[in-house]
Amino acid sequence: MSAQIETVQRQPARLRQGEPVRLVLAGCGAVTKLYYAEALSRLQGRGQIAVAAIFDPEAKSAAVVQARLPGAKVAASFDGLLAVGADVAIIASPPRYHLDQSMQALRAGMHVLCEKPMATSSSDADLILAVAAANNLHVATGLVRRQFPATRSIKAMVEGGLIGKIQGVCCFEGGPFQWPVASTSYFSRAESGGGVLQDIGTHCLDLLTWWFGEPHEIHYADDAMGGVEANCLVRLGFGGFEATVRLSRDWARPNLYRLEGERGSISWAVNETELVEIALKGCRTAATASFTNTDDRSRDFVDAFCDQISDLVDTVRNGTLLSGSATAGRNVLKRIEECYARRKRLDMPWLGAEDFRHVIASAETRQ
């Protein structure tokens, strides 16, 4: 991939009010089948967008998604997808394609919504950002949890000082891995950029930096022994408190984020879109509060994907501020790289002394 920044020849056509934004989608794997297809179908039904074409190297997968999006052509190649012409390209392919496909879409004059991670390294993300900036195009990253009314409310409550000065944060997220991946390449550092940290850690670290700002200190440990981590522990130092993050791909725990403040606590169950539990010191009861977005509509997980797409569509159409901007996607990649650079070995208490000797002697040299 060339690092040269190019200015595209074709500027996007000016959108007319009332006309749906034309959109193409690359990648018909798990995230599309489970979320994007339904979200696009809802938005198309509302007349906000028109899905012009979709592409996936697996014809069967493309056909499954096309059945949900009648009217969309199935392109035979990614070049063919871009040739259809559109205002926005959604890149939902495996992470190793994010850089090339985002760059190509930008060069074709399209704004881009790229599923997370934005790229497999922050330097690749910088390339995408530079090409977008040089061509006056928008790039959004699929940091979908920012669309949840629950996470937005937590940000507002923290900033508003509801629980006072934050004293500590504890996040535990994981469970047996059940995402219906198509191949084992999902577990390859070369193809996905890492393991559980790169995967769900992207969402977790993004939320924490969105709520609290950039950490000034990072400690990191994981259980990778030649491969990619299935479990990891991150400690982030923020001004005056520490956030402990434990991520796992092999055992289900309560899946809870807990923020402790001097005046109370906020608890959020992972992927809960609307509910947050609040307990204030001095009060006899803890409350579970339900939040909706400003339009007062309830939000499920697919709605969050709708909002994510609408966010970029509104920005393209009206110039509104992009909430899931690619800068956030790039910054979280930088945090993840800093974690990997500081890597220590997670204590695995079931391993005997012999096991550990072998880990030290051989496995880690293969990293």
């Binding site: 798990a30 089948k33 489970l34 499954v64 535990f172 994981g174 469970g175 047996p176 891995f177 059940q178 995402w179 219906p180 991946v181 198509a182 191949s183 084992t184 999902y186 577990f187 390859s188 393991g195 400690h219 440990a221 259980d223 990778a224 022994m225 030649g226 491969g227 990619v228 981590e229 299935a230 479990n231 522990l233 434990r246 796992s248 791909r249 092999d250 055992w251 725990r253 309560p254 899946n255 169950a269 992927n271 809960e272 509910l275 220590k344 070995r345 997670l346 204590d347 695995m348 208490p349 079931w350 391993l351 005997g352 012999e354 096991d355 072998h358 880990v359 051989s362 496995a363 293969r366």
Partner: protein, 364 residues
């Protein structure tokens, strides 16, 4: 080095630790084989040559087993899966030129409360009230029939209650304690035929390397004679629970378990298999999310304890099954004592995020 050892069902509790131990010790080149790509999530910690193949698909399995000298059959599943997986695995192993197949059966073939004097020579029957036991009995029989052709050497291991990190007897019991559904029948004074997972893996290694083991069956377990209360106490103490408070009496009769009956039924299985794979995967993810959200949102209430027949029989067991034959013929000796096994199991609970007294995951 003991050639290449394939581990079928490598993402399961015993399979996963087998891969980990064999790989880390350098004892063998390990080839984990799983049914779907997502099952590599935990195994991908290692740089290992793994394969995806369904245990019912002989050509795919044969291709996955090519170059392996031994196969460890640790496929778990419902009763039908247990029986149905035996023949394809044997045929694939034969076609791939595998020398020896180690089949992980269960001491449950003798029932949850075996009679005094039970050993490997005791007669088996498949008319037991617990369907899992019958499935294991039928699987062993089918494997015995198949191996008469001599194409692959078969060794059958019958471990007892295999516990340790990631097991249902350890993490599952901790979950039960935390959600209020844990119980011990009659205080858990019955004998638990425990087998710490590392001891089982040690038996697997011996079953692979001892020439005389071919065609034989072995009961394997821990050295100590322990009770169910002994097994559960360290977990309860680590989480701050009192075992005496969860003692219950078993009912006089047991109603059939309809969910198990449904899962084992032909109609249900045919219906599930008729769905396209992405739909099945999507439903599975959706069901897990729904179940999780349902559990999270359920208002706190006193849980109803429902004693299962299987658990009632286990908790009132009066017999310590012998590992004497394995000791005599394989040279089997448990490599991890019960106390150390409990220490490691509780330490794993801390690692996995349980609110133990030492709730702080460390690093080295």
């Amino acid at each position: 080095m003991t050639g290449t050892v394939a581990v079928l069902g490598a993402n399961g509790f015993i399979g996963c630790r087998t891969v980990e131990l064999l790989h880390l010790s350098g004892w063998a080149e390990v080839r984990p084989i799983v049914r779907r790509p997502s099952a590599f999530a935990s195994l991908s910690r290692f740089a290992i040559d793994g394969r995806v193949a369904d245990a019912h698909n002989v050509p795919a399995l044969t291709a996955a087993l090519l170059g392996c000298q031994s196969v460890v059959h640790a496929v778990a599943g419902d009763s039908r899966t247990i029986v149905d997986a035996v023949e394809p695995v044997y045929l694939a192993a034969a076609a791939a030129g595998v020398v020896r197949l180690v089949y992980l059966s269960s001491a449950s073939v003798h029932g949850q409360s075996p009679l005094p004097g039970t050993d490997e020579t005791s007669a088996l029957h498949d008319g037991q009230t617990v369907e899992y036991n019958n499935a294991k009995v039928r699987a062993e029989r089918r494997l015995g029939e198949l191996s008469r052709d001599g194409a692959v050497q078969v060794v059958v291991l019958r471990p007892g209650i295999v516990f340790g990190p990631r097991s249902s007897w350890t993490g599952g019991f901790a979950n039960d304690l935390l959600d209020g559904s844990a119980y011990l029948v009659d205080g858990g004074h019955g004998i638990c035929n425990s087998a710490y997972v590392d001891n089982v893996v040690h038996a697997i290694k011996l079953a692979i390397e001892v020439p005389e083991a071919a065609g034989r069956t072995y009961l394997v377990g821990d050295r100590e004679r322990i009770s169910w209360a002994d097994l559960c106490r360290p977990i309860a103490e680590a989480l701050g629970f009192d075992l005496a408070a969860i003692s219950v009496s078993a009912p006089l009769s047991f109603a059939p378990n309809w969910t198990q009956w449904l899962r084992d039924g032909d109609l249900y299985r045919r219906l599930v298999r008729s769905l396209p794979r992405p739909v099945r995967s999507g439903l599975k993810v959706g069901y897990a999310e729904w179940r999780k959200s349902g559990l999270d949102q359920r208002p706190p209430m006193a849980p109803k304890i429902k004693v299962s027949e299987e658990r009632a029989l286990l908790h009132r067991c009066r017999v310590k099954l012998p590992s004497a034959k394995a000791e005599r013929e394989l040279g089997y000796q448990p490599v991890v004592g019960f106390e150390e096994a409990c220490r490691r199991s509780v330490a794993w609970l801390t690692f996995a995020g349980y609110p133990t007294a030492r709730s702080q995951v460390g690093e080295r």
